[in-house]
């Protein structure tokens, strides 16, 4: 019950009146309770799906995506809703960057379309008769498509609303492919970020906290992992094993956290030296309290920013491998469509162009948002950015 009283009172109450037991009390907060319940439900559902059903109802990637969404709700959305004043402060700083606000709106659209779109619309089907249809409002020489679905006039085939963004060489609607590709990109970006943040934070804080041999071992391991170019490792692995989205996400997730771990470690080490930590220690706070209340909030902003800036690279990697044909061909992804349009550049330019535009803007938007987050969240960059 502490959580809701806190949010209401924190803004108005005077320091002296704050009931300190209420603020950090050991009792379960509503959030903790909800988190526990949903984790349990999630675990039961996964176990049921894995052991008690013939074919998995939901793919491993989708299970991970669900987990990522849960984590997003409990560790980002809920705390932000709780701390309205801080949220408003962050928002004021974030919205200074107009490009980032537009980017965030674009990403929200991509996220919603990608998450729910594939549930509502059918997977694009192979349809030779509808191959090479131009996007709506555009036209192409009638000799390009096998048969024109829209209007054909004066030797030109016009696009139709049935395929607003045209079709590929095997007649799949590009608009649908783009929506399915949104899901892939979002999954790759967000799930990998979750894995990277989780492992990176645990390893980083452990190294900083236990120091000595643990620190040495962990950081040496990070050294090796960072030396190994993930791109080439993934090439070897996809070559040796059956490529899939799940494999790609896990490899990038489990090998991509080195940078975050280093960042967290150095931040945590720095923070430990600062006066407010010493002040808390002098006030009799326990190690756990200090880590949770003082270390983590100060490190988490840096981590979130760094991880946001990693998302575009994950998305680009996935697209690149899809382009090279080294991912699961049954998962429609932007890179795959671009690759399929490569041979038809002189006749059907839109096949390679349109998914690329979405890919480019998604990556660009993440970069803009990450940059603005750094300016907005970094507690050290006070005042002007």
């Amino acid at each position: 019950m502490a959580a809701d009283t806190r949010s209401e009172t924190a803004a108005t109450e005077r320091f002296e009146d704050v009931d300190w037991n209420d603020v950090g009390g050991l009792g379960f907060t509503r959030r903790t309770l909800a988190l526990g319940v949903s984790s349990l439900a999630y675990a039961v559902a996964v176990l049921y799906d894995v052991f008690l059903t013939e074919d998995a109802l939901i793919s491993g990637t989708n299970w991970l995506f669900l987990l990522t969404l849960l984590a997003g709700v409990f560790f980002v959305a809920w705390p932000l809703a709780d701390n309205r004043r801080l949220t408003a402060y962050y928002w004021r700083r974030f919205k200074k960057n107009r490009a980032a606000v537009i980017s965030a709106i674009y990403l929200l659209v991509v996220f919603v379309l990608g998450t729910f779109g594939p549930m509502l619309i059918a997977k694009p089907e192979l349809n030779v008769l509808a191959a090479y249809q131009p996007p709506v409002f555009l036209s192409v020489d009638s000799s390009v498509p096998t048969s024109c679905v829209g209007q054909a006039a004066e030797g030109l085939c016009h696009g139709t609303w049935k395929y607003p963004l045209g079709t590929t060489s095997d007649g799949k609607g590009i608009a649908r492919l783009v929506v399915f590709g949104m899901r892939v990109s979002m999954q790759v970006g967000l799930i990998t970020m979750l894995i990277v943040i989780s492992i990176g934070t645990v390893v980083g804080t452990s190294a900083a906290y236990f120091s000595g041999l643990v620190d040495e071992l962990l950081m040496r391991y990070v050294d090796i992992q960072q030396t190994f170019p993930t791109f080439f490792l993934f090439l070897i692995v996809t070559y040796l094993f059956k490529p899939s989205l799940f494999l790609l996400i896990t490899i990038f997730g489990f090998l991509g956290w080195g940078g975050i771990a280093r960042l967290v470690r150095s931040e945590a080490l720095q923070r430990r030296e600062e006066s407010y930590i010493q002040a808390a220690e002098n006030a009799g706070a326990s190690d756990g309290w200090i880590i949770r209340r003082h270390l983590m909030p100060n490190v988490s902003n840096t981590v979130i920013t760094a991880a946001t800036l990693l998302i575009p690279s994950f998305i680009l990697f996935e697209a690149t491998f899809a382009f090279l044909g080294l991912t699961d061909p049954s998962t429609p992804s932007w890179g795959q469509v671009i690759s399929s349009g490569r041979g038809d550049l002189d006749s059907a330019w839109w096949i390679a162009t349109i998914p690329g535009v979405f890919l480019f803007f998604t990556v660009l938007a993440f970069n803009f948002v990450g940059d603005a987050l750094r300016d907005a969240l970094d507690p050290r960059s006070e005042g002007d950015a």
Partner: protein
Amino acid sequence: MSMHWYVARRVAWAVIATYLILSITFGLLAVAPGDGQTAFAFKAATQGGDVDEAQETFDEITGRDEPLLTRYKNYMVNMATLNWGWSFTRNQPVLDAIAQAYPYSLMYALPATLISIIAGYAIGLYSATHQYTLTDYFGTFTAFFGISIPNFWFGIMLILVFAVDLGWLPSYYQTGRGVWTVANAKQLILPIIVLSTGAIAGNMRYSRAEALEYVHADFVKTARAKGADDWRVLVRHIFRPALVPLMTILVADILGLLFAGAYITEVVFQIPGLGLLSYKAIIQQDTALVMATTLIPVFIAIIGNLVQDIAYTVLDPRISYGDR
């Protein structure tokens, strides 16, 4: 601790890292189900042979019937003695195939590297010293463009515009046009642009950020107060201290962006360099060639890191050789 001791330790560390990576690769090879035998069996089957027999032959050739430890030993010895195996798709030793391929990679990767370093650092420094001017905003925007554009798609778009629509440049690379010829230069323009765009953007962002740390530093003000002119301040008092952290990005940049980027660039433009060699080997299940072409960038990454760390100690007088 003396510098020599530090360098020696650092080299030893590089050797250990190499060893570990080779071991991991061996482990992956050992547990992998496919490993080229499917291709081998397929080949045998299409040639009218017995698949089971082919499997045995394959195990014999690759030494799969031997105990794991022996295979591990052989693998390590072969790796160390540069006996990297036989490419069955090209019918030549793997190292010969690589020797034939790498000049093509260098032909565009070297100019792209030089351009990205020079242009990236120059724009970055200019932006930092002319903060909040129009040029700075333009530079920052260009950097966002550069790091965000997927290079394979950028390549395709450039082909679409400059080769298909305008017809100014060839759409893919053709061998046999010599090295120092106009024709060769023309077909290298687009690959160089594609490869350097991302790298320029990366270098620019980092050098701008680094230089900004120093533009307002007290010692830069001291230098100006001494009467040093802008150029001297820029080169001696901003660029030189910024060079130390920039070394870090330089290596990561060349290896990450350029190697991975080169892979894509070669596939897009059909340049018969290391990337395309590796890509074809993957498609054609030529294990020995796949391993060699993917491990070489890894080894270069290790050496690059080594060089970077040593350069760091030379450039920065403050660094202590202890605890690293």
